[in-house]
Symmetry: C2
Subunit: 220 residues, 2 copies
DNA sequence: TAGATTGTTAATCGATTAACAATC
DNA sequence: TAGATTGTTAATCGATTAACAATC
């Protein structure tokens, strides 16, 4: 390994760095110091310097970081300077919305196909894509070699679908089902989204806040 | 505070515990030990016991945990035993999909309204809701007192929209825009989803895996 | 050169794991 | 009672913060 493996905490912050640096660049920033960036992002300057130094020396003492260069480096680390072919499984409400809402090219992917089992959906358009029958999946994969997949199928179908896709050569899953795909399978990258858990967390946040306020007001 | 504040790491695991316990319950489990649960969830038994003990003593020595009771306790901690009225802002592709895809009642929320500025969308149905004009937001809030909001508006409109909503009494935000809502504003709960960052993280995972494999094959 | 700011080491803090006494 | 498993304390591990020498 070139730089012995990066911790998950750091990786989770990289997309946000990339996003902020993009905004800074559009706002005309040429350089930025770790202190200034820390204020904008709500982190410490120390953490920012530590994070960047996992990957190399991107800054210059007495000057700071060149915004455009740094953004380029992080983009490269994230693999955004090439396009991985991706397919969508399940073109219902959610799948369709994801497919049309996300700027895939800016995230390092190219959405090249969409599949569903529902005869009412097959043949419909999603942007420039025509939804295909799931029966055509294998032949499509042989021909077009997609490497990544979006799972928007019903949770009950997720595990089986994942196995089929791995058989077709898929190596990365963006999983929107409630099925907990175990990350760390041999040579498979997984990103579980779990919107339901996210909303549940919000419920906790709201309720614990209200509880704290109630207790504060009782203390008078 | 009853049990001095719970760490974020624990909170993030709670929805997943709740989900797994629900599945166990439907599969007929009456009791489960921390060891058995740890194997199913891919955690350590120690961590599970530590987590639960943040909130009280839910188990019984020599026996384990009663699945249904434990699920109830965690549900209560998460605030799932009441319904917080919630509204949707932005009923485009993504907003519509979220609204129809999520089981709000099981996450402690009740979706009671949807709003958009687009005349083509206003008046359309999302499930049982009719999309309203954004101009009607304030009067709707005065009358129906929603407490939570889903932000599916364009990123450029997010900051202003959030301020308006706070003015209308909204206390919890489920934010799907790219605007980084700073969590920890006075009395406001925020859950940022950032689908784009999630996909970017997948790109990193895929690319770093491929790099590792390339290096491994060079080493022969 | 003097001032600024990085890269990096050391100190602190927090979260996870291990161990075991308490007890069902 | 004996066996099992919790609740909880102590040990370890990892991540964040602070400090400062290196250097632009």
């Amino acid at each position: 390994m070139s730089k012995n493996s990066i911790s998950n905490s750091v990786i989770r912050r990289l997309p946000r760095y990339y996003r902020f640096l993009g905004e800074l660049e559009s706002n005309g920033y040429i350089r930025i110091s770790s202190r200034e960036l820390s204020e904008k992002m709500g982190l410490t300057a120390s953490q920012i310097r530590q994070d960047f130094n996992c990957f190399g020396e991107f800054g210059q003492q007495g000057y700071g970081y060149n915004v455009s260069d740094l953004r380029g480096e992080i983009g490269h680390i994230l693999g955004l300077d090439k396009l991985t072919p991706m397919i969508l499984l399940g073109a219902g409400n959610l799948g369709k919305a994801i497919a049309s809402h996300i700027d895939f090219h800016n995230k390092g992917f190219d959405l090249i196909g969409a599949f569903d089992v529902n005869a009412d959906i097959v043949g419909k358009q999603i942007g420039e894509l025509t939804v295909r029958d799931l029966n055509d999946l294998e032949s499509f994969c042989r021909e077009n070699k997609p490497v990544a997949a979006i799972l928007c199928v019903p949770t009950s179908a997720a595990a089986k679908m994942a196995d089929i896709l791995i058989g077709c050569g898929i190596k990365a899953f963006w999983n929107f089902t409630h099925y907990d795909m175990r990350t760390g399978r041999k040579g498979i990258a997984v990103e579980n989204v779990h919107l339901g858990d996210s909303l549940t967390t919000l419920s906790y946040g709201l309720n614990s806040m209200e509880k704290a306020e109630d207790e504060a007001s009782e203390e008078k």
